[in-house]
């Protein structure tokens, strides 16, 4: 079976970040969001993928590090419906897997979708997932008789972003879903699942992905000072440098060639991506530092996302509460710093600050 993966959204919940970088290209634990999807699709036996992109096509192509045949197409027709139609044009089969490129889930999510399809003897399968925050941000569905009904409210089951549907002629994808739902199946996905739509989703994704880790995985090629302290749930990749007296308490991810400066503390679900630099005397918690970003010394990052090649000056303090994230269970949210942006030295940045 072939898949259409959508990666042409505007990323409104992550603006202005997404004006510079497509959200599917954001790297979490060394893997772009879209690669998390493609990895799952490959595990589910998908042979070929058509990725629908926008002007950030190149970013998506560069972000893929999964060995699966794919081609990208530029979206021509408008909206999600247009994106599906543009991708579907490349599908020769009667049925295909439609996946949203901004979902982080275990490969079993996609495998179970295929399982439901092959056991069900029906041309369409919908995956649903239970949600409890930011209900208005999801496409919801109710179970009526033995099928689903797409609704705007009155349910806590969200469309989970991977479906098997027959090719068809439609002008509105949700209307099409409604049309095919009488002869489709559904299943509830109860495993890990995050729809990357808001900064809190990214923070949450790091936590969810690292929560599975039972032991630390440290590359032989990493350069770890004898005086550094490494906690129990830490991944450190090749050629990363953890300098004297720093503490990677974890759970945390330290990417390839990343640098953790002297006396710095990396704790509680933080991901420092490849070639990022954390200066001396820093503290990082619940934060994502994207590739080649630099954090000046004596800075404190919490519930914060720092984009690719962004520069945070020395002694920058992010404040995470009180904040009211759209989907977060906690009332905490720090800063969202877009790729290539700079934050001047000594700034104290208020919750939910975006640049």
């Amino acid at each position: 079976m072939k898949a259409v993966v959508l990666a042409a959204g505007k990323g409104e919940g992550l603006r202005p970040y997404t004006e510079k970088e497509q959200k599917e290209a954001i790297t979490i634990l060394g893997k772009a969001v879209i690669s998390h999807v493609l990895y799952g699709l490959k595990k589910a036996g998908i042979e070929e993928v058509v990725i629908v992109t926008n002007e950030h096509e190149k970013q998506i192509q560069d972000a893929i590090n999964v060995d699966i045949p794919f081609e990208t197409v530029r979206q021509k027709r408008p909206g999600i419906t247009g994106a599906v139609l543009d991708g579907m044009d490349k599908i020769p089969d009667d049925e295909f897997l439609l996946a949203f490129g901004d979902i982080i889930a275990e490969p079993e999510f996609y495998m179970n979708l295929m399982n439901s399809y092959i056991t069900g003897n029906s041309k369409a399968v919908f995956s649903l997932v239970p949600v409890s925050e930011g209900m208005q941000t999801y496409g919801l569905a109710k179970i009526v008789d033995n099928r689903i009904e797409i609704v705007n409210e009155g349910s806590t089951l969200a469309l989970a972003g991977a479906y098997i549907i027959p090719k068809g002629d439609f002008t509105d994808i949700l209307e099409y879903f409604k049309k095919i739902s009488p002869f489709s199946r559904y299943f509830i996905w109860s495993g890990k699942w995050i729809d990357i739509g808001y900064p809190e989703d990214i923070i949450n994704a790091i936590e969810v992905l690292l929560s599975d880790l039972n032991n630390s995985i440290i590359s032989d090629k990493a350069e770890i000072s004898k005086t550094a302290v490494i906690g129990k749930k830490v991944i450190i990749e090749d050629n990363a440098i953890v300098d004297d007296y720093s503490v990677v308490k974890g759970p945390a991810y330290i990417g390839k060639n990343a640098y953790i400066g002297n006396y710095s503390l990396i704790r509680d679900y933080s991901s420092i991506e490849s070639e990022a630099k954390i200066g001396a005397y820093c503290e990082v918690a619940h934060s994502l530092v994207e590739p080649r970003a630099e954090i000046g010394s004596k800075s404190y990052l919490t519930y914060t996302i720092v984009g690719r090649e962004a520069k945070i000056g020395a002694s920058v303090i992010t404040v995470s509460y009180p904040a009211n994230p759209v989907r977060g269970r906690e009332r905490k949210l720090g800063a969202l710093i877009s790729p290539n942006e700079e934050i001047y030295h000594g700034q104290i940045i208020s919750p939910n600050y975006r640049k």
Binding site: I118, F187, S190
Partner: protein, 589 residues
């Protein structure tokens, strides 16, 4: 639901019996009350079958010693006709030359059977399936070739079916499919045909999923399919399973438990329609209950909570009902004027069996409610009633509990003289509750981080508080206790401190009193939760379920308490399908 498998090999494969049995073991989730195998080699056709679970029957009948190039296997879940050696599949014709396994229901089998008997056919079993081999035999007798005879037989039957047939001397397995699953597996010099893919997945990942109306045959190296009289291009429909599909029998769900919770609407509906079709038995049961001086309800675990609910309903109508935990049966002396209602999902619960033995000896009349047709407990009873939830694989009872509630509420409504048709809406009430899965998940995940919890209820809510606490103990391993809410201040409240979780079950009655109990708990800084029907308790977190007909409130609450336990268990990384130290059927004392 039943599981069927056919295996056909080019070579004289000595291991074919072993392969067939292994396939059957993987199909056991589809049913496990009886099992049978047919093997054929040239002009030798042999059938071995018996009531019992696969491993036990395979051993007893020495099935692994069977030889041949063609095998059929069947694992049964009886819906009509008791599970016994004769009713087990495969079924054969008068001359033992045609063997058939079938998953489904043939609606017009009575008429067909009468016609065939008038033509001289002799039937051995009570099953609907047996008409198929006799029909094939009859059409062959009239001069048709085997395939035409098989097709004519299929055209004669109405209902749902996945059917496999073998005919002596033919190295072929005939098949037909409508409404029940059937899948071909294309192996190396060996082909499979089965109810599901995982059963044969260790041998081949090349599959062909049959669709309704498909009829044809497989040989060791050929697949032939027709649909509506036209030959199907087989190559177009072959698929390669390139992913690990060993979990495919869960149909997309991560666990049987969640799948089974979602099957509750159908289980309840099938239970009600099953009781309507067995209405004479229901009437007999009601007569016994009404004429007895005392009604003793015995059950264990989850079934006890269903029994307690029923007891409360009848006590409110002035009946003298005593709910008894089965293992504590020695505390009550029954007599001829008592009636016993025994409730057991498996129908084999040891404690219930022991109690029944004693009560029967005392001369008490016995009514049973089990989920397995003609179970051991059913056989001990004067009246046998059934839930029709289908096989349940998750160890923690979910859809079978909801079905017990449905069956007992049906009984209660008839006793009260109510029109029972309101129960047709039970399935919709359950479905509405399933839409609250996200909120149940949130509560479950919060509870998973705690080490103790109280579940409180009043009146009819109490059995559901008890069931909620049991469920979360069973699969989350969280210490949870249920109390009558008014009882909590007589002791249990001493344990309540800041953030101690207290879950209130509120079926929409005695709401004022429950609200007082919530305030008591809030005053101790407990973290309060409620699953409420129609009226709020104003707890810290509350799932409010709207139910038009308050008699159906229990169906709204039940899936939520099950989902809370499920999500708290998986948050802790537990396997809810196989909780530690627990067995599905408790056959020890």
């Amino acid at each position: 639901m039943c599981g069927i498998i056919g295996v056909i090999s080019k070579n004289d494969e000595k291991k074919l019996a072993t392969i067939t049995v292994q396939c059957l073991e993987r199909l056991e989730y589809r049913g496990y009350d009886s099992v049978g195998v047919a093997s054929m080699e040239g002009n030798e056709l042999e059938v071995r079958k018996a009531k019992g679970r696969i491993d036990e029957v395979v051993k007893r009948l020495n099935i692994l010693s069977m030889t041949g190039r063609v095998f059929l296997g069947h694992t049964r879940w009886a819906t009509h006709g008791e599970p016994n050696d004769i009713n087990a599949h495969p079924h054969t014709d008068c001359t033992n030359s045609i063997a058939v396994v079938h998953n489904g229901t043939i609606k017009n089998f009575r008429e067909l059977r009468e016609d065939l008997e008038s033509l001289g056919h002799k039937f051995k079993s009570e099953t609907d399936t047996e008409v198929i081999p006799h029909l094939v035999e009859e059409f062959k007798k009239r001069g048709m070739d085997s395939f035409s005879a098989f097709k004519s037989a299929i055209n004669s039957i109405q209902g749902s079916y996945a059917v496999l047939a073998i005919i002596k001397g033919e190295n072929k397995i005939y098949f037909a499919k409508k409404d029940n699953p059937l899948i071909i597996g294309l192996g190396d010099k060996m082909n499979f045909i089965s109810s599901d893919i995982p059963s044969f997945l260790p041998y081949t990942n090349k599959v062909l999923i049959l669709i309704d109306g498909d009829v044809g045959y497989i040989t060791p190296d050929e697949i032939y399919i027709e649909n509506e009289g036209k030959k199907v291009n087989v190559l177009d429909r072959i698929k390669i399973i390139t992913w690990d599909a060993s979990a495919a029998s869960k149909e997309g769900y991560a666990h049987y438990m969640l799948k089974e919770i979602h099957e509750s609407p159908r289980a309840v509906d099938d239970t009600i329609s099953g009781l309507i079709s067995d209405i004479e038995d229901v009437k007999n049961a009601i007569k016994i209950l009404e004429e007895s001086k005392r009604i003793i309800v015995i059950a264990a675990g989850t079934s006890y909570h269903a029994g307690l609910y029923f007891s409360l309903l009848l006590q409110r109508e002035g009946f003298n009902v005593i709910p008894v935990i089965a293992s504590e049966y020695y505390n009550i002396k029954t007599n001829q004027e008592d009636s016993i209602l025994a409730i057991s999902q498996s129908g084999e619960t040891y404690d219930v069996m022991m109690a029944l033995k004693e009560f029967k000896a005392n001369g008490s009349k016995i009514i049973s409610l089990t989920n397995v047709i003609d179970s051991a407990i059913a056989r001990q009873s004067d009246v046998k009633l059934y839930t029709r939830a289908g096989p349940e694989i998750g160890v923690a009872a979910t859809k079978t509990f909801t079905s017990q509630i449905a069956a007992l509420q049906f009984l209660y409504s008839l006793i009260k003289g109510d029109d029972y048709t309101y129960l047709n809406k039970a399935k919709d009430v359950i479905r509405r509750s399933l839409d609250f899965e996200g909120e149940a998940k949130l509560i479950g995940e919060e509870l998973s981080a705690k080490s103790n919890a109280y579940y409180l209820g009043r009146g009819l809510s109490l059995p559901f508080a008890m069931e909620g606490a049991l469920k979360i103990k069973e699969i989350t391993y969280l210490h949870a206790e249920a109390y009558a809410a008014g009882e909590s201040k007589h002791g249990p409240i001493a344990l309540v401190e800041k953030d101690f979780p207290v879950v209130f079950i509120n079926l929409g009655e005695l709401v004022g009193e429950l609200q007082n109990n919530v305030q008591e708990m809030k005053a101790r800084k407990a973290k309060t939760y409620a699953i409420s029907v129609n009226e709020r308790l104003n707890t810290d977190k509350e799932i409010l379920l709207a139910v038009e007909d308050e008699r159906l409130s229990s169906f709204a609450v039940t899936p939520i308490i099950q989902l809370i336990a499920y999500y708290s268990a998986i948050k802790r990384g537990n396997d809810p399908d196989k909780p530690r130290n627990l067995a599905k059927t408790v056959t020890v004392g």
